[in-house]
Amino acid sequence: MNQRIVEKLQSHFADSIVSVNEFREELTIVIKKNDIVKVCQFLRDDDELKFDSLRDVCGADYYRPEGRFEVVYNLYSLKNKFRMRLKVRVEEENVHVPSVTCVWQSADWAEREAYDMFGIIFDNHPDLRRIYMPEGFEYHPLRKEFPLMGIPGSLPLPRKN
């Protein structure tokens, strides 16, 4: 199945694929950032592959000079009972990624979480707000430079009597 997915994607989106990787029989394909919606739409609508369920979107901070952040899309095909992962790389200076909420509704909250935790901005997202941290919180806690103990005074806490 892995082979088939790679072949199919390569025949349609040869220019969009950055790299293909397989680890523990799990397929990971890195896609160019601006083509992600196109590729997702194809994977969802293709009659053979039919990745109709987006299980998860999450960010990751690799803390490296180029392509510091990654957005990971976990797809599942109910028809083929099969999983795959898509990834896009995001630069620190330009943290914009096209949103896939137009393809799967489940991307909504997951992208809000990635925005909250990493500061990755999803363009065309209907309601991009923080989901866990309070509005007005300045930092993005899952970035590697954010200290584990938090930043004193950054969260408004109720006053002790």
Binding site: D56, C58, V72, M133, L142
Partner: protein
Amino acid sequence: MNIPITESQLKILRALENQDTTITFDDPLESDMVLNMGPQHPATHGVLRLIIRLDGETVVAAVPELGYLHRGYEKLAENMSFHEFIPHTDRLDYLSTLANNVAYVLAVEKLAGIEAPRRAQFIRVICAELARLTSHLVALGTMVMDTGAVTILLWAWREREKIQDIQDELTGVRFTTSFTRVGGLAQDMSDASLSMIKDFIQQFPEKLIECEKLVLKNRIFIQRCEGIGVISKEDAISLGWTGPNLRGSGVDHDLRRDNPYLVYNELDFHVPVYNDGDTLARFYVRLQEMRESVKIIQQCLEKMPQGPIHASNPKKVLPRKENIYGKMEELIHDFMIVNFGINPPVGEVYHAIEASKGELGFYIVSKGEGVPWRLKIRSPSFVNLQAMPLLVKGHLISDVVAIIGSIDPVMGEADK
């Protein structure tokens, strides 16, 4: 019917007409009211906050707000070894702690490339199914209580209490179990816990029928649930729903059967599916799943072999405590694993199990160190809750509690 107007009333009416007064009031059907439900509301099953826009008693729109139980486990995980994170998985879905332990170690084992021995796998299946029973019993009890029947809650919690006692005997604690280890289990199943589980599954189906008799023909309960919170198959798939909620919408999908892990492919069980997609269908799915769980546990007890419960891989699996005191190598391995971690290879894995609420998955990125570089928890409650605005739209405010009960969220998991 004409009521004759008295002289004094006529006087008042004339006075009003002369003075050009207009009585204005807001029409309750045209002006909306915003109601803040939660985070401290008993029917929201934890600290879920719903901001609901009401038109009279009908819900026009709803916005769920999360984060009241956010403890930043994903950040914590990046700062502790793989073993140290096991107790934290208990606090995710705190109603099915054992299933979380199993899901997490399976992901770590996949990353490290080790496999637990067969006996451990059977015990893990028993653990996961016991966790499903505890979780579904709470879902059953609280949902029925939210619609007005208190008896079932007490009866369901009586059964749940027996499972807590089993957990006490099996793992040493009643609630926060932390039972699994990478490559095995904390301890073997004792004869006492084995006989407790046997006794429990012997009497449980009868007790379940007793509970069912109270609700299945209860007109109040049926009318409060039937046709409420309907979600179509397509929406449920697009929203990323999994588990009993998805199966209530007519999608025949169960990770235990479709992508088998542990020893589920050797076990014979049925996946209940209902097509209505309403609150009642989701309730029925959970009810039927409990019967299947009992069947699975029964088969596991029959098929479970004797043998070791730890994989033989000294660099990755913690040695037994009794060996640490007597053998030099074991002492060194224990020191290395506790202080520096198990150092899995560079790579990334995602492993998901069918937990009681749906697909519980862990995505781990490793850079070859003793701590995960990134650990993402894909929690079913978080994804399932996303459908709330869609589900409650157009229903009465009193239906909202029934709908929350039917999708069975646990905020410890949704907020992570």
